[in-house]
């Protein structure tokens, strides 16, 4: 079995106390638990403090552009579904500029483990409010308080048809490892929205604040396979729910695709024989 050390590339350079440290640790432990090897994993990130993951986690890596980690990851997964494709991104990356791809990845149920480090702020650009910032949040672009109603990534994922939806907290490492491992083992799109405090630019949603404002759904009576129930829990809870909120079994996009083409694209023989060639020309020219 591989050890955690094999997934260490270099030491992260986040601010001391940043929530992202715990997420990195959790991911390293979860891949070990899920029995994955560094070269079988492609870690895909966007841009943000959270997306610096690819500089610290040892595996194949793809550090693309802001908001577009998911479509790049989909391309990788479709090309070779045997790879374990993980996306690590931020709340700005995912729910602002990347919102559309997020909804579409969820509805497609593509086999990607998606960790969103949700610190309710834009860290890397130095502290602007994000789509998950609460009303009234003070930031460099909301000096008198944010006027926009925050979105809830978990609720949106549920509405869009995602099949594994969890929320973790950087202050709760054991559960976080478990939730990520669950996502890695899940067939289909898995969202793990992680409350990961930005100690530098978010002075409101701190570790202490979260400790007071979260409720672990796993501690109460909740059946994660009931979708309506999951909606109700989210809509009626006065606290932020953490834990596994919803999971169901549905065919994945890659399975449907692969069965429609009868194989895996990366295995395809890319040179056509004469026969195929003649057929293809006949078909394409038969307008």
């Amino acid at each position: 079995m591989v050890s955690e050390g094999e997934f260490i590339l270099k030491n992260p350079v986040w601010c001391p106390g940043c929530g992202h440290y715990a997420v990195l640790t959790a991911l390293r432990r979860a891949v070990v638990k899920a029995n994955l090897k560094p070269e079988e994993i492609v870690l895909v990130t966007g841009i943000g403090c959270s997306s610096r993951f690819t500089d610290f986690f040892r595996s194949y890596g793809f550090h693309g552009v802001h908001g577009r980690a998911l479509p790049a990851a989909i391309g990788i997964k479709m090309a070779n579904p045997r790879l374990k494709v993980i996306v690590a991104s931020g709340d700005g990356d995912t729910y602002a500029i990347g919102m559309s791809h997020f909804i579409h990845a969820a509805r497609r149920n593509i086999g990607i483990t998606h960790i969103v480090m949700n610190n309710q702020v834009y860290g890397l650009t130095k502290g602007q409010y994000s789509p998950t910032s609460v009303r009234g949040f003070i930031s460099s672009t909301s000096p008198k308080g944010n006027l926009e109603k925050p979105i809830d990534g978990v609720l949106l994922a549920l509405s869009a048809g995602a099949t594994y939806i969890a929320r973790g907290f950087s202050g709760n490492l054991d559960q976080l490892i478990r939730l990520i491992e669950g996502g890695l083992r899940h067939k289909g799109y898995a969202l793990i929205d992680v409350l990961s405090p930005c100690v530098t630019f978010n002075k409101l949603n701190t570790y202490e604040w979260f400790k007071r404002n979260i409720l672990d759904i796993e501690q109460i009576n909740h059946n994660p396979s009931n979708r309506l129930e999951a909606f109700k829990m989210i809509l009626t809870s006065s606290k932020i729910l953490i834990g596994l909120i919803y999971q169901s079994t549905e065919e994945t996009f890659e399975d449907l695709m692969m069965s429609s083409i009868g194989g895996v694209p990366i295995d395809a023989n890319i040179s056509l024989g004469e026969n195929n060639y003649e057929n293809l020309i006949k078909e394409i020219t038969s307008i």
């Binding site: 890596g61 693309g64 552009v65 479509p71 990788i76 695709m257 083409i261 020309i281």
Partner: protein, 598 residues
């Protein structure tokens, strides 16, 4: 309205006068017909245009089609032209020989395209057009269709009957193609169309004063009738492309539709993404994972893709983008041709990175160049843009049998088995190209990083690394330059020593070919350089070509003369621009007039 129509006809008479001054001779040699069918979007006139084109191909003629249609699904005017000849065809013809139209406004729309040989066959179900100084027949297509077949839907096939009678085409060939076309549909539709065809033919026998021509079967077979989109889809599959992602956009959508239909048979995937940004990122991902991957789009979609074009440049992932230009700016006219995005294809995307821009000038070239685009992308590890426009993309022409043996697959520096030792994906090499691995190659782990990075791909902001990496990436352009010269040695047409020089690329290729052929039947002689790629810009070739010329014309379908300016730039000499930007194809005469007036 009819008064106005008449007044404007006076203009086209003038046109005709200019025309008949000296160029007519060319057109009278052999068979060379230009037939336009006018209807409304959605009324099926395209279908009979296609049938006509197939009939001509079947009986051995070269065919080129040209569609002028609206960005609307139904109801607005639409035109389908077919040129057929026993000699090679390069462009649309100057003037219409037969205009078959169901809508009266077509008669005015084409007023500049009539010659003394033009024959108009129009639907007079509602009224006759008086005072037409062009030979014409009014035929009640709609009325006949309704009275005999209960619906006006069959007016097209009736018209086909009339037209092919007039052209003297053997009935059996037309019936043949009609059957082939309607066989896939419901049986009663086929029957009704055959009936309609016969009605038209019989009407013509009874009412038209003798046949105009008698077109013989010349039995040259084996050629394909293809448009650029079809050729590119075909080329992609044959080149081993096994991943396509795109988003519908006229006039590139057909490439996606064809690939979604056919790619699965070769174990490839073609997906419709939620937008163009997703599409390009998907293909970048698929290419990173080892597949040959492509997207196709038009101006609005390409603009959206440029952020990630720059990403592909930075992480050195091979991708192919087919860029089918249409009329801009912005939404412009989605269904019309233009070459006004050329500078955008060459210069968009932030920062500096190598790219290759190929510009096929015919459907056949679109096929072969697409196959090479994949080799170039993988050999140089950079984005390759195949730049065409709506004209080549959506108009079918006869193409010689495509030669599979001319298609090679060269994947460049690609490592697919375990790497021993210290692997550096972005190793600084002499030619700037570094061997790449694809996951899950053991020992081949690296980071494809949009940040500036070190040789392993990890973020580095140090000035020495930065400089070295820029140089490494840009060195690849030199390799590209050399490779392109070998792959696409410049094609020069006409008289080598001519002092009149033409330069063109893409959809003006055909028209320039015809222009120099016509010019070279007398003095002074002309020559023509076809630009097969625009980036890296072929400055040396152009400079060589223009050596010892008196006059250089650069011909483009845009308003600013985008490549004209680049030619000026690299040659430092004066050039004349011949430009057209009304969304319609140059006719040879449009170019000849400019040349003849100095």
């Amino acid at each position: 309205m009819f008064f106005q129509l008449y007044r404007r006809q006076y203009n086209f008479s003038l046109d005709r006068k200019v025309y008949s001054l000296g160029i007519l001779t060319f057109l009278t040699m052999g068979l060379d017909l230009f037939i336009t069918i006018g209807g409304r979007a959605g009324d099926g006139s395209f279908l009979i245009g296609d049938i006509l084109a197939k009939v001509f191909r079947f009986i051995g003629y070269d065919v080129l089609t040209y569609r002028d249609f609206p960005s609307n699904i139904r109801g607005l005017p639409t035109y389908y032209s077919v040129r057929a000849s026993d000699k090679p065809i390069y462009a649309v013809k100057d003037f219409i020989d037969y205009l078959v139209t169901f809508e009266l406004e077509a008669v005015e729309y084409f007023k500049r395209s009539y010659s003394e040989n033009t024959v108009i066959i129009y639907d007079n179900s509602i009224k006759d057009i008086k005072d037409l100084d062009v030979k014409n027949y009014g035929v009640p297509f709609k009325r006949m269709s309704i009275s005999s077949l209960g619906s006006e839907l069959f007016k097209n096939t009736i018209a086909l009957g009339v037209l092919t009678y007039i052209l003297g085409i053997d009935e059996k060939h037309v019936l043949n193609i009609l059957m082939e076309t309607f066989m896939k549909m419901r049986k009663d539709i086929l029957d009704k169309n055959i009936k309609a065809y016969r009605i038209g033919r019989e009407y013509a026998i009874g009412n038209i004063e003798g046949r105009e021509v008698a077109i013989k079967t010349i039995g040259r077979g084996g050629r394909l009738l293809l448009n650029g989109n079809e050729a590119i889809a075909l080329g992609a599959i044959i080149a081993g492309c096994r991943f396509y992602a795109g988003y519908p956009i006229t006039p590139a959508t057909e490439i996606m539709e064809l690939l979604i239909m056919h790619m699965p048979k070769y174990q490839g995937i073609a997906v419709q993404a939620e937008d163009e940004i997703a599409a390009i990122n998907m293909i970048i991902g698929a290419s990173y994972a080892g597949l040959r991957a492509m997207t196709a789009t038009s101006g609005p979609g390409f603009s959206l893709m440029t952020e990630s074009l720059s990403l592909a440049g930075m992480i050195e992932v091979p991708i192919v983008i087919v860029y089918v230009q249409r009329v801009g700016p912005s939404t412009g006219i989605a269904t019309k041709m233009e070459q006004a995005d050329t500078l955008q294809a060459l210069f968009s995307g932030h920062g500096e990175f190598p790219r290759i821009v190929l510009t096929p000038g015919t459907v056949e070239e679109a096929f072969y160049m697409t196959t090479e685009a994949f080799n170039l992308a993988e050999r140089i590890q950079c984005p390759v843009i195949v730049l065409i426009d709506q004209f080549i993309a959506q108009n079918r022409e006869t193409v010689n049998t495509l030669d599979l043996s001319r298609v090679r697959i060269e994947r460049g520096k690609l490592i697919t088995s375990e790497v021993i030792g210290d692997y550096r994906r972005y190793e600084i090499t002499d030619d700037g190209i570094s061997p790449r691995t694809i996951p899950p190659v053991k020992g081949g782990i690296y980071l494809a990083n949009s940040n500036e990075h070190d040789e392993k791909g990890y973020t580095a902001e140090n000035p020495w690394i930065r400089e070295a990496m820029v140089n490494k990436r840009l060195r690849k352009l030199e390799v590209a330059k050399k490779t392109l010269k070998e792959l696409f040695p410049y094609k020069i047409y006409g008289y080598k020593d001519a002092r009149i020089a033409f330069i063109g690329y893409g959809s003006v290729h055909g028209v320039i070919l015809e222009v120099i052929e016509r010019l070279n039947s007398k003095e002074p002689k002309a020559k023509y350089l076809q630009l097969m790629y625009l980036w890296p810009f072929p400055s040396e070739e152009i400079n060589e070509f223009i050596h010892n010329t008196d006059k250089i014309y650069v011909i483009e379908h845009n308003a600013q003369g985008q490549v004209s300016e680049l030619v000026k730039w690299t040659t430092g000499v004066g050039i004349s621009k011949i430009l057209k930007y009304d969304g319609r194809a140059f006719r040879p005469i449009d170019v000849l007039r400019v040349v003849e007036n100095g």
